[in-house]
Symmetry: C2
Subunit: 185 residues, 2 copies
Amino acid sequence: MKFCGECGSTVVQIVPEGDNRLRDVCTVCQVVHYQNPKMVVGTLPEWEDKVLLCRRAIAPQYGKWTLPAGFMENNESTLQGALRETEEEAGAQVEILELFTLCNLPHIHQVYLIFRARLLNLNFSPGFESLEVKLFTEAEIPWGEIAFLAVEHTLRQYFEDRRKGGYAFHIADIGRRNALAEDNV
Amino acid sequence: MKFCGECGSTVVQIVPEGDNRLRDVCTVCQVVHYQNPKMVVGTLPEWEDKVLLCRRAIAPQYGKWTLPAGFMENNESTLQGALRETEEEAGAQVEILELFTLCNLPHIHQVYLIFRARLLNLNFSPGFESLEVKLFTEAEIPWGEIAFLAVEHTLRQYFEDRRKGGYAFHIADIGRRNALAEDNV
């Protein structure tokens, strides 16, 4: 951030009085512009022994597979956001079962919240952010072509829990995939 | 937002191409300034049959009681944020036990994540954002003086679970306390 969103003046990075972190502070109106992590909300839709994945039609990770998920919007709950993304990206109607994973990605200031969900019918179809939407058995999952580490982690945890005979809620800390490939989060 | 943080030019609210929501978009450099919900992370510290509350030394809700919690920062996990806020506001060392409540507050664009935690010793003391830090039994909780609805909900859920003999993870949607008192969230 270089300019103040409130008055358009120059912003500097300083530690405000009573704070202990560098913040973007306006040199004229003194407004502090805080920056905080964003939530990515989505679902893991189940149908019999299969799960629903979307192939991305947008950057980053164009052409790679992911669960229907995206940035939570203002004025919605985490569940509403997860349902909205599932409808937008996969054209899929689901019933939310429970929160399955919370993935911390501190290096990119994101927290993923993925809900286990039951696909209600097979009338899904790609939204404009998806090239393709498809059901996969565990053996069919394109592990080398999963767009995001938090999604890969969630899928691996899902099949592990399924083998154990029951699903639990999991919290995971996820680091960089590769320090040279920052886009490949 | 009135001005672009990147170039300082005027911002207008329009629906960008391929989007379906009004966003703040720069009239010159075309950058879209998204606004998303913030996470509030904190703990519910237990000691024998008591829980630790802080009395707020800052606005909003100066003088009211709350659990140690605050806005999650970039470059930290939800757990790290909860531990940091517990140290900053209550000077308290805790061991995190599990995620206890996720409270959606869509009207103020916040999601609370409160972890149940075990207080490790009685060497707590108010940080500069707190007037007082104190242990309360259920009977002693100042219910009429709790700062935030998400905190009140979490405390009520905690004592209800305790009476039932076991703690579960809970998701709650929390609306306005009172349409006339927007500060009193």
